[in-house]
């Protein structure tokens, strides 16, 4: 409960603020505006700061919310409370349509795409007859509870801030869950997340809709606060301002959205009312100063004001011990029918004219450690990517546990019980070791986004975290469990990746250079762990350059050179194979 305490204090402060005697009514209006902006910014925090999807069209979703209630409550006389779910629904549906089109876009396409439809929608709002064109819709009825008509900013204030605080709580809950981890993984690329069964496209669409619904809520409140809706507040400039708010506040932090809203709204107000007094009333001086202050803020605190402020606080968030007693059901899987877990038959991968993997065939049986070795560029990692379906094979047949994986997605491979690590570590540096490892158990949890927001996922979540903690203990990193993954050494990060892979409850573990960056002792511990896993019934396929490590550990070795398999056999056979020696040491050796 200690984490909830600051929120409770904040809620109490916000509740008594309007009761202060003689508080200027204008301040309440400002606070209302801050709340409205904070709602939209919070959605952007999740979408942009956490999910890495920049949207320049957020104000358009406010427009959907505002116009829905405006039309329904003026033309059809619906009660504003009835239009609330409809407003949210319309914004959400708009987000589904626009999201399906845009969230697939990567990098800079996405922000520009959102900018484009944001502008298109703005012009649409201002041209449609039934939305009142540029004049908009006025005389929207106020919110009403019983006989209390919320006509003045002081009463609707409570509705707005209850919405803000609830939204903040729901968002924080969502982020601290199975779905939240999937969302937080989006910004770091999708390969790692997909390898553990995260449906990245669905997760992106989810945050997109969530952000749009928050914006729609803000629009609905706006319409009943102003009791009018016109296109201006839903245009490109407004969208840009919301993005500002999120970035200034700290785009990765839920409360950063609230802080940013306060800073930007108040700054604008102060500039608008005081600058003309200093410089005389000409021009839009406040815009100039606002722009300059914004750029300056980014120079001083590129990651926003919230983390900068929380760093100033003397006390730090204390880490809670993870309860490791909660059980997690094993991965749901069909019983193994064959002794062969993985079988490659003539697997081939061509990049243009380059044949990276040239008709390679080998297999991995149960309880076996197979090493895939070869000089740099031999096609080892490409073979891994073919098996995990990160890459589409050009020809040949690959079966996992008897299933032909042609056309399968990486998520389906994870479901079959194949877990992997990456040659270039793909952890999420700003998540703790525990959270990173829990990602591996993604497919073994079931709680969805709504359950997470409402904290109905705790049993499921406890099981996931307990499993993650057990696997971390198994690889010997319990002391680092609450550290940020980015703060560990490269060798430790590789071990974290192994713990994450173990959380899948795999039958086959694919390790891409697990020993690189490890010290001698750590290598020995790793080898012992892998042997123990094999004896426990797991198979391991590993790519490795450290010959001593491989020769000691592997039951069988497959050697690739220039994409072609040149040898296969036990370590002793491989050591004396003339082709292998030639591949490694050159023809004259």
């Amino acid at each position: 409960m200690s984490q909830r305490l600051p929120v409770v204090i904040f809620a109490v402060i916000m509740a008594v603020l309007p009761l202060i005697p003689n508080i200027p009514p204008f301040w309440i209006v400002l606070l209302d505006n801050i709340g409205l902006a904070a709602l939209v910014a919070m959605g952007l925090v999740l979408l942009t700061g956490v999910g890495g999807l920049t949207s320049f069209g957020q104000a358009a979703f406010c427009g959907f919310g505002a116009y829905t209630t405006a039309v329904l409550s003026t033309h059809y006389g619906l009660s504003p409370w009835l239009t609330l779910p409809l407003s949210l629904l319309v914004s959400g549906l708009a987000a589904v349509v626009l999201g399906i089109v845009t969230v697939r876009l990567s990098g800079h396409y996405l922000p520009l795409g959102t900018l484009a439809w944001g502008l298109g929608l703005f012009y649409l709002f201002s041209k449609l007859e039934f939305l009142g064109r540029n004049d908009g819709i006025s005389a929207i009825p106020p919110l009403q509870i019983g006989s209390l008509r919320m006509l003045d900013p002081g009463t609707i204030y409570y509705v707005i801030w209850i919405a803000v605080i609830l939204a903040a709580l729901l968002t924080t809950n969502l982020l601290d869950s199975r779905t939240g981890r999937a969302i937080r993984a989006l910004r770091r690329g999708h390969v790692a997340a997909e390898a553990f069964g995260v449906q990245t496209a669905r997760a992106k669409l989810l945050v997109f809709i969530y952000a749009a619904v928050l914006a729609g809520l803000s629009g609905w409140l706006y319409a009943h606060l102003q009791r009018a809706a016109n296109p201006t507040p839903f245009g490109a400039h407004a969208s840009i301002e919301y993005l500002f708010i999120a970035v200034v506040g700290g785009a990765g932090y839920v409360w950063g959205g609230v802080l940013g809203a306060a800073v930007v709204v108040i700054l604008k107000e102060v500039l608008q009312s005081y600058l003309p007094l200093i410089f005389g009333g000409q021009g839009q001086l406040e815009i100039i100063v606002f722009g300059i202050v914004l750029v300056a803020l980014l120079h001083f605190a590129p990651s926003g004001m919230w983390p900068w402020l929380t760093n100033l606080l003397p006390f730090k968030r204390s880490a809670t011990r993870t309860d490791t007693s909660a059980e997690l059901a094993p991965r749901a899987a069909a019983p193994l029918t064959s002794e062969v877990l993985l079988k490659l038959e003539g697997a081939r991968k061509q990049f243009g004219g380059v044949i990276a993997v040239n008709d390679v065939s080998f297999s991995v049986g149960t309880r076996e450690i197979v090493a895939l070795i070869g000089p740099n560029g031999a096609g080892k990692s490409t073979t891994f990517n073919l098996v995990t379906r990160v890459l589409e094979s050009s020809a040949g047949r690959i079966t996992v546990c008897g299933t032909d994986i042609d056309g399968a997605t990486p998520q389906q491979i994870a479901k079959l019980g194949v877990a992997r690590t990456f040659q270039h570590v793909k952890l999420i540096p700003d998540m703790t070791v525990l959270e990173n490892v829990a990602m591996g158990a993604h497919l073994r949890g079931h709680a969805g986004a709504i359950a997470s927001m409402l904290r109905l996922d705790r049993a499921d979540e406890a099981g996931l975290l307990a499993e993650a903690a057990r696997q971390i203990a198994r690889v010997g990193l319990s002391d680092q469990i609450d550290q940020l993954a980015g703060s560990l050494s490269l060798g430790q990060q590789r071990i974290v990746e192994i713990a994450r892979a173990l959380c899948v409850d795999p039958v086959l573990l694919l390790l891409d250079e697990p020993a690189a960056g490890l010290r001698h002792m750590e290598k020995q511990q790793l080898a012992a762990l892998l042997r123990q896993l094999r004896d426990g019934g797991m198979s391991v396929l590993l790519v490795e350059h450290d010959m001593g490590f491989v020769m000691d550990l592997a039951d069988r070795i497959v050697v690739l050179d220039f994409g072609t398999k040149i040898a296969e056999g036990t370590p002793d056979v491989i050591k004396s194979n003339p082709d292998v020696i030639r591949a490694y040491l050159g023809a004259t050796a």
């Binding site: 890495g52 089109v101 990567s106 800079h108 396409y109 795409g113 298109g120 839009q284 815009i287 914004l294």
Partner: protein, 361 residues
């Protein structure tokens, strides 16, 4: 879409004859050529600096309105802004190099940041009202905007060049707001028009092509060729391309990426100003018109994928022509159509090219 079409029919019922068709195409190509220039500049800046250049719109208005103000015999406020920005940039340079101040570096910073804009300002003050020679006015406007573009990068972007695209984008928006505010101070809320560069006109059959349109086509083509020559055949051009492909790699081989960024901004601001000067005789420009014009250049750049110059140029022509035709058939929905045009393109792109893994921050 059906609703839009229905409305267009009801509104117009206008029939398309050859004269109108040719006129629309010509109008579309003229606008498209401008969008092509802007699109190219945006692609250039994004590729080299990762900045999505929202203030491109201000380069357009600054160029156009400085030119119009000079033509009216007055000194545009932008010349003074350039001097002030130069002073700030000089301060930044000195501060950045405070630990290893060399006379040579100091002299270079002084020349670029102080002498250059002051000389331009003095020239402007001396020449404004004294003469009304179009090439002189154009040159002065371009110099002023070039200085502003250069200093803008130095002040706003160079110190945060290493941050994420998002932070750069927000900084870019901040610059846009500040510069638009200055635009209002300098040029007022009234729109301005500038004198045409050429009053000649040719008539072919039903079609009358104004000299100004021909100038637009000529300059656009010349600039595209010049950019191509610059990027393919000069050392600086190659350095810029290298920076665009790999910043770290470029630094390792001794390319100063800050210099690349400055050159990119310099080129973009000049291109923006040229576009502005080309359109200000055709349409009245206001201090805030540039934003929307620039955004249409964006649409072209996005369709071109922010990477390909020829594709961007072709896309810009398409945008111009679509805009011309939609203003004829459904003038109310012109902007809606132009801005939603890119959505099908984006969908096609995302279907054709699956996402690539990117490790960004």
């Amino acid at each position: 879409m059906a609703a839009k079409r229905g409305r267009a029919d009801a509104e117009g019922g206008r029939s398309l004859n050859t004269t109108i068709l040719l006129f629309l195409i010509q109008d579309g190509i003229t606008n498209g050529a401008i969008y092509a220039l802007l699109g190219l500049a945006l692609v250039l800046v994004f590729a080299v600096t990762r900045v999505i250049l929202i203030p491109q719109g201000e380069f357009i208005t600054y160029g156009a309105l400085s030119y119009a103000t000079l033509a009216a015999g007055q000194v545009p406020g932008t010349a003074r802004l350039a001097v002030v920005m130069g002073l700030v940039a000089f301060g930044f340079d000195v501060f950045a190099a405070r630990k290893s101040l060399h006379a040579r570096a100091l002299l270079r910073a002084f020349t670029v940041n102080i002498v250059f804009p002051v000389v331009v300002l003095l020239l402007t003050m001396w020449l404004a009202g004294r003469q009304n020679n179009i090439p002189v006015n154009i040159t002065l406007s371009l110099l002023i905007v070039a200085a502003i573009g250069l200093f803008l990068y130095r002040i706003a972007f160079q110190p945060i060049a290493h941050t994420s695209v998002l932070v750069l984008l927000i900084a870019s928006v901040g610059c846009h707001l500040a510069m638009q505010g200055f635009g209002l101070v300098f040029f007022g809320a009234e729109g301005l028009r500038g004198p045409t560069i050429s009053d000649a006109a040719i008539t072919i059959g039903d079609l009358r092509i104004s000299g100004q349109s021909l100038v637009v086509y000529g300059i656009t083509a010349a600039l595209i060729i010049a950019l191509w020559l610059f990027f393919d055949f000069t050392l600086y051009g190659k350095a810029l391309r290298a920076t665009a492909v790999n910043r770290l790699g470029a630094r390792l081989v001794g390319i100063r990426t800050s210099l690349s960024g400055q050159i990119a901004f310099l080129l973009a601001s000049v291109i923006g100003a040229i576009s502005g000067i080309l359109i200000v005789p055709i349409t009245t420009l206001y201090y805030d018109t540039g934003f929307i014009v620039g955004l249409k250049g964006f649409v072209a750049a996005i369709i071109g994928g922010l990477i390909s110059y020829p594709l961007t140029a072709v896309a810009a022509l398409v945008v111009g022509i679509v805009e011309a035709f939609s203003s004829f058939y459904a003038s109310n929905y012109k902007e809606v159509i132009v801005f939603t045009l890119i959505i099908p393109v984006l969908v096609l792109r995302s279907l054709a090219a699956p996402e690539v893994e990117e490790e960004k921050d």
